[in-house]
Symmetry: C2
Subunit: 645 residues, 2 copies
């Protein structure tokens, strides 16, 4: 069953570009192959261990009556197990592993035993707490957890052909449909997720009752009086079709808006799709980090105001970048608009990838764009809180978190990544992402087309494609040209032509086997500026090359304070391949001015003139943002002051 789709749009009437299932995509080597391999082996194994030692699996044993004692951890911990299972299922689809298979089987057995006879399942609301079921949909994440169970079950069935988990899923879904609805309880879940799950379950079963249930949940938000809290935090402040801006909890918003686009592809409701696009424009045109990170505020893990994008206090949860990729993928499928593939790529290579170490086993939850080594406390506040101590600054990767949503989220993204690379529409094969390997795409009209792709992307902008098989009639090859790739060109049959950046280059012709296409993306080092209303970045630039955003880290500047480094017209930034660094990177090297340390150490003093005084210059090395914090703890900056000559 290696044709397992992540999002299966093959029967969605209103999809424009249907993803090619990952089973038809081979990633042979290079950037993502290494990362997928690390996650498939070491990463998944360490995550499973964490689920064991933190009691997440014991909670299932208790709910199954096989173990006594109290539930351990947070009431939403089941979801981490389900997300791990989804990721593990994708891994098994790509490469058999007896060890991983036995872990998966054991978890599925536990889940089967823990499910209540009526289909409900949640290990926290079991035993003496069984009567608390659904007492507080606003906060207690029961449908969120079952949503992740459903996604895992669909992934497991598509990956392995087995129904052992899927049977549980259908029982749980039917229980939910019986309990919530026009004749039942009115609440959605405070944390969106069940909506995405129900849409995909409808696709897997062909039963539209689950699609209707998803739309029901979508439309239960923002009621008057509210079904939940009425708060932005719970995405309950306004009906989803009317929300003007991406507000409230950023992960919840991405899941919600992704589900709106997803459902619209099956129901054809233009209003739902338009509302998702309106939210996207708010999120990505005014409220996103240059890394594709989302969520400007620790408070409420929320979006900020337009252009409110602090660097040191960026929350930019890994899950929000991942959720943003889910969302962009669905809008891309629903519209074919390259802007969604652009932001998907930005988030993939930066805001999401930064959340995991090269070995797949150390993670970030919040992702600042500037940090200093000295940590400062950032407790959770509030009445009756069981608040944990957090810190800001001194960011270091962790093997796990009490709230461990991010590690399995990045795992399921990485292990399903081949499913995001290609798409098909009538008579067309779309290349969204540039991965070395092979794709064997079934076109909607029954033909198939096979491409071989060779590239060192993202380190190099040459993408060489060879057609291995194609129909003997004209077919469109649609190659995405990223928005940063001004001056890109495509050469086919010896003819080179410049193509527009931020769009798909459309090559329509008959493709004899062996035809080569050469996409050339300019990989000059770019300086990026922010909209002037982004106060945190005034007078600063970010270094970028290709899809990668760079940063400076103190590990590369042992003699200098990274906060004193200043770019200027003479910085002469050049790429430098460094195969031995952090698994192999292209760094960017040049020179930086060094701001004179002010004589006074006063917090406020009389202004002495506008231009920062510089004292000589020093060598500057920038590394990709995703690679930071894998050496000694230290300071890091994405946005660097720029001073004209």
């Amino acid at each position: 069953m290696n044709s397992a789709a992540v999002v299966d749009l093959s029967n969605s009437p209103h999809a424009v570009v249907r993803p090619v299932a990952p089973g038809w995509v081979e990633i042979s080597e290079g950037f993502w192959a290494e990362r997928i391999l690390a996650m498939r082996g070491h990463g998944l194994a360490r995550q499973f261990e964490q689920c064991e030692v933190t009691g997440r699996l014991r909670n299932f044993e208790r709910a199954a009556g096989r173990l006594t004692g109290e539930f351990e951890g947070r009431y939403y911990n089941d979801s981490d197990v389900y997300k791990w299972l989804e990721a593990a299922s994708y891994a098994l689809a790509r490469a058999p592993s007896a060890e991983l298979q036995s872990c998966v089987d054991r978890v599925i057995d536990l889940i089967r035993s823990a499910q209540r006879p009526d289909g409900y399942i949640n290990t926290y609301f079991s035993g003496s707490r069984a009567s608390w079921r659904y007492r507080n949909l606003t906060d207690e994440h029961e449908l969120y957890c079952m949503g992740h169970l459903i996604q895992a079950g669909v992934a497991h069935r598509r990956s392995t052909g087995s129904d052992r988990l899927f049977e549980v899923v259908v029982r749980a879904a039917d229980h939910i449909c019986e309990t919530f609805g026009p004749e039942g309880r009115p609440e959605p879940d405070g944390h969106p997720e069940i909506e995405l799950a129900m849409v995909e379950l409808a696709r897997e079963t062909g039963d539209s009752v689950y699609l209707r249930q998803a739309v029901f949940f979508l439309d239960q938000r923002g009621a008057d009086p509210p079904n939940l809290s009425g708060l932005h935090y719970h995405q309950d402040h306004a009906p989803v079709r009317e929300q003007p801006n991406a507000d409230g909890h950023s992960v919840r918003l991405t899941y919600l808006a992704a589900a709106m686009a997803d459902a619209a592809m099956d129901t054809g409701e233009a209003e739902l799709l338009e509302a998702s696009i309106r939210l996207w424009e708010s999120a990505y045109e005014r409220r996103a980090y240059v890394t594709g990170g989302l969520g400007s505020r620790y408070q409420g893990e929320a979006f900020g105001a337009d252009y409110e994008l602090p660097n040191d206090r960026a929350y930019a949860e890994t899950c929000a970048a991942v959720g943003g990729i889910f969302w962009n993928a669905r809008l891309l499928a629903a519209t074919g608009d390259a802007r969604y593939a652009d932001w998907s790529e930005t988030a993939l290579y930066n805001g999401a990838l930064v959340g995991v170490s090269p070995d797949g086993a150390a993670y970030f939850y919040a992702n600042p764009l500037a940090t200093d080594p000295q940590p400062t406390p950032d407790d959770q506040q509030g009445l009756h809180s069981s608040g944990a101590q957090q810190t800001v600054g001194g960011h270091q990767r962790q093997p796990w978190y009490d709230t461990a949503c991010c590690p399995p989220n990045i795992a399921r993204l990485l292990l399903s990544l081949p499913g995001y690379a290609y798409g098909v529409s009538a008579g067309a094969l779309w290349v969204h992402h540039f991965l070395p390997g092979r794709v064997e795409a079934a076109l909607p009209d029954g033909d198939s087309m096979t491409l071989q792709v060779t590239t060192r992307y993202p380190w190099d902008g040459n993408v060489d494609l060879v057609v291995e098989e194609a129909p003997d009639r004209p077919v469109e090859l649609r190659l995405r040209v990223p928005s940063w790739a001004e001056g890109a060109s495509v050469e086919a049959n010896g003819v080179r032509e410049t193509v527009e950046a931020g769009a798909y280059a459309v090559l329509r012709r008959v493709w004899p086997a062996g035809t080569s296409v050469h996409l050339r993306l300019p990989m000059d080092v770019r300086l990026v500026a922010s909209h002037p209303r982004v106060q945190a970045n005034r007078g600063r630039v970010a270094i970028a090359r290709g899809p990668l955003v760079y940063c400076i880290e103190s590990a590369d500047h042992p003699e200098a304070n990274v906060d004193a480094l200043v770019l200027g017209p003479d910085s002469d930034l050049q790429p430098s391949d460094e195969p031995g660094l952090l698994g192999g990177l292209t760094t960017i090297r040049g020179s930086a001015g060094v701001a004179v340390k002010s004589e006074s150490d006063e917090l406020y003093s009389r202004f002495q003139g506008g231009r920062p005084a510089l004292t000589g210059s020093t060598a500057l090395t920038a590394i990709p943002y995703f690679a930071w914090a894998n050496r000694a703890p230290g300071a890091m900056r994405v946005w660097i002051p720029y001073v004209d000559g």
Copy 2:
């Protein structure tokens, strides 16, 4: 009883400068007289109305058994009534008012009736919740509320001579001393306040048991295992004598550190004083806003890291500025160091005063240093939260808040302000603040000295003092020279000499009646720069004149976007007296460059060069920060970009 001291250090053996009680200080006219008058009349009356309509007074009636029904509002609402009562007591000490007296008497009667027979009092933990008493000292503010009761009772006795409230206070305090202590319960309160109250009660009664109780509470924090949560939020992360930095909830920290200095003046414990000073250096040398505001984060209402001082997301709660003034006043008394008077003045004229409108009846809770008119949601988060919707941006003054700590806090500060202006030490009279009027100071050695002060401060830097009465032996007149007043001079007996800024100018001589002293503080318009590590203010300056920090507000720039205004060498900023504006102000006028609106509206784009392009110039008007948001809602900026010619 017009000699009522706010902080009575007359018998504190380790005080260095003892405040002159407000009863001996007359403020005849001008800046503060107008504001005190507004608060004494309209402000207190509106606050009383709010206590009525929001059920704060009905809660006392219920606890007294005179009314049925459920407690209304938040569990800490009693404290607002107590703080109002403290403020009203100060008001009555200065000017009799039958109307205010009758409100005060009614509230005291309610309090007397609501107190339990054993001395405990809290209207939330009454009736069916009586058994919940002290179930959760970490979060539930019972000692915090009783602390405010004690402060109110001491203020009321000192102001009116009446014991009717003070009897309640002593019973409550004795109950607390019996319940908590080495042989009793170990917890302090999650919100410091009881410590300040107990120290002052010890002074009022002469009974050192209350002082010991204060020190006990101070030292119960940061225990291992913790008595509370162990969190910074509750100031429970480390023993107070060892805390290295001002961390956690900013209001709590100011109250706690003020109490540490306060207790040290009575116990002589140098360690407590040094620890308070260490925290002060962390707070004011690395973590304070230029306005004297404290608290960089909405999350946890907390201090940020060193130099983490965002403008749009400044929390800077009015109560933290007020608490900072309490703290600075105590450190000034304990040391005589002018730096505490400096920051006290900064907070008074800016970070605290901004919290109240000119008529005394509209308030701010959070005080950003930059805001835009479009509000964005900022819900409270969290499990089982009854979270209210908040917004950021679109800041407007409110007549009251659900959590209404700030309005009565600014009231009690304003109405006790004369008590902060002067101090005495052996053979010396200290002038901390410049208020037109008169002071009749009892020197510690039995002599007295009377001064008449004439000044238009803060609009004008001329402070003229005439000695009306003085001992016939040499006495020091110590005049504070603010740290911004470089080039200040003092003229006495026809001799003018330059005096050092940021210190007390010491004039020691025999003062025949009628001797004049002229302090001349330069009131040039200053541009202020931040330490380069304050990322939010890079490339920006603040406008200041005298003790006032200025801001630009869209109300004065109807044609321009305040975000586009840029200062430079040609801005020619000049003060301009405007008696008709917002009750009479000196604005600062000049010209600003206008940054060209970038052609692209993209969030991120290719950097086009370092210098912001300017299109012509426009008239700029800056108003004092404290005066903003009293006209139409709009944008505001304290920190303004500065571009060299």
